[in-house]
Amino acid sequence: MTYDAVIVGAGHNGLVAACYLARAGLKVIVVEKNDWIGGAAVSRELYPGFTYSNCSYVSSLFRPEIMRDLELPKHGLQILPYEGGALFTEGGGYLGMFRNHDANRREIERHSPRDAEAYDRYARDVLRHCRFIRPMLLRTAADPASFRPRDIAELAWMGKQMFGLSEMAMYDMIRFWTMSIADFLDEYFENPAVKAYQAVASIIGTALGPMSPGTAYVLLHHAMGDVDGNVGAWGFARGGMGSITRALAASLGAAGGEIRSGSGVVRILVRNGRATGVVLENGDEIVGRRVVSNMDVKRTFLRHVDETDLPGAFLKRVRNFKIRGSSGKLNIALDRAPRFTALPDGSPCMKGDLHFTDSIEKMERAYDDWKAGHYSRDPFQDMMIPTMIDPTMAPPGKHFMSCFIQYAPPRIEGNDWSDADRDGFAQTVLNQIETYAPGFKDSVLHVEVRTPRELEREVGLTEGNIFQGELTFDQLLFNRPVPGYAQYRSPIRDLWICGSSTHPGGGVMGAPGRNAAAEILRDIKTPKKDMSDAYAVL
């Protein structure tokens, strides 16, 4: 039995690629090392009655074109926009975020009248950058060194996007893509809490601090998605993030694709410079005309391919690819909703993202701990209680709390994470929440703690980096993952890469998987089926 494509890893990008390939008529199999599927878009019940979003926890980037092409709503996918958010400040206050424009302005006005009136221009400028980048998400990046007509055409298209801008907009664009979020926010705001709230999205998943150049782009990466056209909005996947990959698996099944879980790939078989299949941990060999790896670029090429099959220069680039772990996660089952003393009863801010770091400086201090090889003593949290909106994830009155934590280094002062390190890490998080919500700890039923060690071991993400490689400008577009190999190909014929290590990068976006499928179909001259181009930006 020979498959047309063997996809390694049942994460969202692997499944997206598999779905498109199966719909185009290819015989497709997805192999997964865990007993469950989903990669980092996964929901498991680790405590009776509670569904977690074990890794990724919110959705905005997942392309609506893909949801529609693959009929995911028919297979159960529902995205629920969230309603608010809050950043708690020292001394018992908070800065809320509200969907209503006037409420939001009045909220900022409580902290700074000037910033309240600055917000519109800020939001406008971020939206301008979003409009510039969004058309690029569902396109293969051009290879600037190639003279193939399609690369020249693609470069010309990019040039046209660029030269369609005014001189000032072009200056702004170049500055924005390279500057720190701290510098960017200083151009608009004065209030520390206002700046800290806006900086949240600029450090998530990134081994950089808010004062590091390049973090402004990371903000954009989190702002360029949408929920039903509301650009920058985020939502919960009903039933947890695993419902995204469950819907993808159902869509794949309907298209005739297979999934085999419970035994991971040991080695990608290469014969005469071509990938010919995979060998699994259980000894099974799966033969395929091509192998598509959803694993990150380091894991794929440094652990599952014989290094002698790869050019040395490529290997060196892959080794140097920045994929530093920076985050961890606590998933908590709660007996009751926490009561944050700063929030009025019934505040819609509970139905969204919550944070406890009220200045850029504190965020940067948290990053300093990471640089010293330690988890942050006063960590930054992107915390949510999805059950405030989603009734399916916990019994009535009980709650699931998802805490995304920064910073957590891949190693603790040069050593592997120990269980004691892990427990210490968890305590800093629980203590921080307890400070703002007294009695919280008493309501905890179960905690799943995931440091970079667990993220790497269970999900397979090198160093636990959630984006399969950092989103810095040197690792974006035609340089992602490494120069010369940005078009989902590798030095080995018929070995493809489709994970977040590739353009346009991480987050539960699906675009890398979709774009990789497009390249494979182009390569074998098979017409794409049910694959939409990016929706127009009017």
Partner: protein, 404 residues
Amino acid sequence: MKAEKTMQPDPRLHYLTPLRQTPFHARTAAANRLNSWGPWGGYTTVLEYEDLAMEHSAIRNAATVYDLCPMVKYRITGPGAADYLNRLTVRNAARLPVGAVHYTIWCDDAGKILDDGTLFRLGQDDYRLCCQERHLPWLLDSAIGFDVRVVEETEDVAALSLQGPCSYAVLKAAGFEVAELKPFRMVDFVLDGGGLTVSRTGFTGDLGYELWTTPDRALVLWDLLFEAGAPWGIRPIGTQALDLARTEAGFIITNLDFIPAHQAVREDRVRSPFELALDWMIDWDKGHFNGRRALLAERAEGSPWAFVGLDIEGNVSAEHAIIYHDKKHEVGQITAACWSPTVKRNIALAHVRRPYHSAKSANLWVEVYAMRELQYVKLMLKARVCDRPFFNPPRRRATPPGLF
């Protein structure tokens, strides 16, 4: 022991009522028979009280009251106020006499309009700027180096617009004699032991006044006007009636007729004073002002857009229609339009690409989709560029005003 004064609302609970109520809310709500509300600048405001046609005809026939509290107001004070406003705005604020008002605009450094508004000179070093949008960061940044204080004071002022040919008579009956008050001038009175300023300004193109007091006197003012105005059939008007009147008067509204430069997402949406037919107010000789260099260049090189009044054949209103030359090439868009009950013409305000803006330009057409019983009827109507304002009666400027 608890204090007996009324409880201040918890400022954190603003989200329960995201739209504020104006100081006149008790009266506007009671008069709002249709319960027709819309948001304006963070406030809930009346769109139509009872009957749009009656409200509009009262503007042109009798006396009307419009709640304009949501207008954003900035107070600009200090020895550097006049110099600062000369840098900020395109008109000459130093030559505006104390007790006078002028209509003005301000631009970004690229010469694109940020907003328009009215500037009141309350004292030698004391101005109030009223406008549609919020600009505090721009106003503060522009103040660097000037001995001036800029404060947003929207909530500290209660304001009503009293408009219509009988508005002078109503004011007189209410005890405020303004016979000698000329257009764009203001005068102070005492109201209920506090201050009331009456300015001869408005947004209807008719005789009218704007009345400014403190929020605690708002209801006193409203009741006084309605009691005094009863013989003239005074009535409150909603935003829809005002919108008809302002279109007849040829006035523009920010974010309806143009996108302010600091909000425009699409770079081609911004407009310069030349492109909104507001270049007449630029004082080129007063020294530097924001956008001057760019505007000088534009004056020399020309502008792509013009803003014009249109007279359209037939009686079907052409809101948001696309304008064509020779029925083929798009040359512009309509931003405001109505069948004018006052001038009995089908009028519109429009952005038109030069050179199609000139009154000599023939062969302009507008594409109208008229909804008739769930179906669009598609029309291609001939349009002619014409002078604004469409309605400009002598009674608007007469001093003393007519006493009807």
